[in-house]
């Protein structure tokens, strides 16, 4: 039997009926059909990430009107770097959320791995690549341990990772030792990953172009294959409109970044992580199995999926991403300190995933929600900082804006439920 192959014991019966349902409301061709379909989706609440994007636009508009420097290229460029640490961690959290589980240890793990890198590289003078690898492997091992306790021993993920939250924080303090904060040299690989900004105009535009072309190419190829196989495919107009939308966003972003210093490497790495892991989730067997587990764990088990292995691997991915995020956060302040991984980091990372549209109950979400969520949270923080309000007021407004950002999405989903789709 060929690997992954399919072997039908049953020849297709002659008396086949058409599988397409006659009651399906088929979209009309052309622009009009497109608009009609769009209207139908809006009324029935199938909006995808549109509400969050809308919320983001509103947030930007409000803060921009309050203080013009919010929308300055400099601030947006800073923002694009500041979200990377939390965003990377949020990507890992998205994986865990897809299983319908939670990881409360990501903050501590990020701090721990930053400390591993800093102490090895700076204090013990270990080669930077070895130190980097050690930090990442450290994260992976942490995830592995937590995953085993969850998947094999059966301790609820909440408890395992809560214990981890404490334990790894303790380990970090231990590793940092009595001296506490360790300064990075500023010339090491981690700092450079964060602080490098490609100032050639071509860099940002080039990346935008490559992204758009990749999307277009993949869409066209897919549509061709589908047409050839006789299964429904996306109409040309649809592809064109989507590509156009993406092109506008990509080139606008590139233009803004070029207005200040150029394309930050950190942002580029972040995007690459998102795209690659999104691909893993949507287009590989592994990703399919992660979604299946989040949808119906018993169903997944019966389908022959190795549930323990998926669970362990997802927790490993999550902790590894926490390590990556931790390194970027350390690079941001050029040091690993005892406060690393503390504070609001954990909540921000989880909130980023959830606000971006990943369900807490498993089986629904995407790595892109890490970007969207981190952007929403980062923008609020940045906006409040530019306003310079007192903390009491800041907390209240941040809370209110967080809530408001999700209300649109929730209302949309409510319509959707009423339309029988949730």
């Amino acid at each position: 039997m060929p690997k992954g192959g399919v072997n039908a014991p049953v020849p297709v019966a002659a008396e086949a009926t058409p599988a397409v349902d006659p009651r399906l409301i088929v979209r009309q061709e052309g622009v009009k059909g497109y608009l009609g379909e769009f209207r139908r989706r809006i009324t029935s609440g199938e909006l995808g990430s549109l509400p969050v994007v809308l919320a983001l636009i509103v947030i930007w508009a409000v803060f921009g009107s309050l203080n013009s420097s919010f929308l300055s290229a400099q601030n947006l460029s800073n923002l694009s770097q500041q979200i990377v640490g939390t965003g990377m961690i949020a990507i890992g959290v998205v994986f865990v959320l897809l299983l319908g589980e939670i990881d409360l240890s990501v903050g501590s793990v990020s701090g721990l791995c930053a400390a591993i890198f800093a102490v090895l590289n700076v204090t013990h003078g270990v080669n930077q690549w070895v130190a980097l690898l050690s930090a990442l492997v450290g994260g992976a091992v942490v995830g592995l341990i937590q995953g085993v306790f969850f998947a094999k021993v059966g301790v609820p993920a909440f408890v395992v990772t809560l214990a981890g939250n404490l334990g790894w924080n303790g380990l970090m303090l231990q590793i940092l030792g009595a001296n506490g904060t360790v300064n990075l040299s500023g010339k090491d690989i981690v700092s450079r990953l964060y602080s490098t900004i490609y100032s050639e105009q071509a860099a940002a535009y080039g990346v935008a172009l490559i992204g758009v072309l990749l999307f277009l190419g993949a869409s066209v190829l897919d549509a061709r294959r589908r047409q050839a196989a006789g299964v429904p495919s996306r109409p040309v107009l649809d592809i064109a409109l989507r590509t156009a939308a993406i092109a506008v966003i990509a080139f606008l972003a590139a233009y803004t970044l070029n207005q200040y210093k150029g394309l930050p490497l950190a942002l580029l790495i972040f995007l690459v992580f998102i795209v690659v892991l999104d691909f893993v989730l949507r287009r590989t067997t592994y990703g399919r199995q992660v979604f299946a587990l989040g949808g119906n764990i018993e169903g997944a088990r019966r389908a022959g999926i190795n549930v323990s292995w998926i669970r362990i691997s997802v927790f490993t991915i999550c902790s590894t991403m926490a390590a990556v995020g931790g390194l970027f956060l350390a690079a941001q302040i050029q040091s690993a300190s005892q406060t690393s991984g503390g504070g609001n980091l954990l909540m921000n990372a989880i909130a980023a995933g959830v606000i971006g549209g990943t369900s807490l109950f498993g089986g629904r979400g995407s790595t892109w929600s890490a970007l969207l969520g981190a952007l929403v949270i980062g923008s609020i923080q940045s906006g409040m900082n530019i306003q310079g309000l007192s903390n009491a007021i800041q907390f209240m407004i941040t809370g209110a804006v967080l809530l408001a950002a999700v209300v649109v999405d929730s209302l949309a989903r409510r319509t959707q439920r009423a339309a029988g789709r949730a």
Binding site: N67, S69, F70, S72, Q74, N75, N78, Q82, G85, V122, T123, G125, L173, A178, N179, G180, T181, V182, N183, S185, G186, K187, S195, L329, Q332, I333, Q334, S335, S337, Q338, T339, S340, G342, G343, N344, L345, Q381, S382, N385, I386, G388, S390, N391, A392
Partner: protein, 348 residues
């Protein structure tokens, strides 16, 4: 039944707990947090060392409240349970510790307010003055900015809004800065988080405009780390303050990305605290040399006190302060990355 001694706190300390010899004194050391390195790196070992020196049989119970006032309250309870006769208490929250101080007082236990002036019937106090610290930071910034004061404004990044001590630093700093420098943006930073401080600084630079920033007040070295990178990213080189003389802060001062820090010579402070504790443990009154002044705490109690002056740490006095006092060795400070700066500063 095995430890009925635990029931009557403040007496018969010898019988409670494992293995202390008869006549040993039992002293509780309650420190507030671990986020700043000084407590576990200096205060605890130095105090323990000094007490052992003065009273070799003394038993010291150590507690750290991890920035939580409620935890500290339970730790005071625990200390009383274990039969500690003297408490060296560095309050998380000087106000809300009052009831615990009262409880200890009622149990006949002496309370030494350490570093922060707790409310309630405190028996003695030794500290650096928090307001004074802020004032020194502020003054140092005013001096460093010098005649650029008119050409722009500064950014103030204070400590955690939920940390009562941050309010003291802030008030002290304002007393020195207000009227002399223009404050462009001011922040309180939850949890003293360096990453937050970094973002606040970035935002403020954007809002004020890079060339208009003439200096940054940072309440401690941890946040200064984050601020320094924000300044660097914006291509700014302006005065930046700090506090605690952390190793990384010292290194930044060496290379000039931070202007100053506050060095609190822990040794005198810990020595005084240890002496006070041992004196109390022996049931003797405090020598007036040990408590030259009297202060009034928030609850109106008169407290005999010993206030030690903090030192402004700059590139010029690294050698004579932190190195001379054995806080850090030259080797610790002068890692390869800082070798050149060390040479320039005459450290190596």
């Amino acid at each position: 039944e095995e430890s009925s001694g635990g029931g009557s706190s403040g007496s018969a300390s010898g019988s409670a707990g494992g293995g202390s010899t008869v006549g040993a004194v039992r002293i509780g050391l309650l420190l507030p947090e671990t986020k700043t390195t000084r407590y576990e790196q200096f205060d605890r070992p130095l105090i323990e060392q000094k007490i052992k020196e003065l009273a070799p049989q003394a038993q010291i119970d150590y507690y750290n409240a991890n920035e939580n006032a409620t935890t500290q309250q339970t730790q005071v309870d625990t200390a009383l349970t274990k039969g500690d006769k003297v408490l060296i208490l560095d309050a998380v929250d000087a106000k809300s510790i009052q009831s615990s101080v009262q409880k200890a007082h009622d149990a006949g236990v002496k309370v030494i307010a350490y570093d922060r002036l707790a409310q309630g019937p405190v028996d003695a106090y030794v500290s650096f003055d928090n307001k004074k610290v802020g004032q020194l930071q502020g003054q140092a910034l005013v001096d460093a900015v010098g005649d650029k004061a008119g050409s722009g404004s500064i950014i103030m990044i204070n400590g955690s809004p939920t940390d009562p001590n941050a309010a003291d630093f802030k008030a002290g700093a304002h007393s020195a800065i207000d009227g002399k420098l223009k404050i462009g943006k001011e922040y309180d930073t939850p949890n003293w988080d360096p990453n937050n401080a970094n973002q606040e600084a970035s935002a403020a630079i954007t809002a004020i405009g890079g060339p208009n920033v003439v200096g940054v007040y940072s309440a401690n070295d941890g946040m200064a780390a984050g601020i320094a990178t924000a300044l660097k990213a914006a291509g700014l080189s302006v005065p930046l303050t700090g506090q605690d003389a952390q190793l990384d802060g010292v290194q930044r001062i060496l290379v000039g990305t931070q202007t100053m820090s506050i060095y609190k010579p822990f040794k005198p402070e810990t020595d005084v605290a240890a002496q006070m504790a041992v004196t109390f443990a022996q049931g003797k009154p405090l020598d007036s040399a040990l408590v030259p002044v009297t202060v009034t705490n928030g609850s109106g109690n008169q407290v005999p006190a010993n206030l030690i002056t903090p030192v402004v740490l700059t590139k010029d006095n690294i050698k004579t302060t932190v190195v001379a006092d054995g806080l850090y060795t030259v080797a610790q400070i002068c890692t390869p990355d800082y070798a050149d700066a060390c040479k320039a500063a005459g450290l190596q």
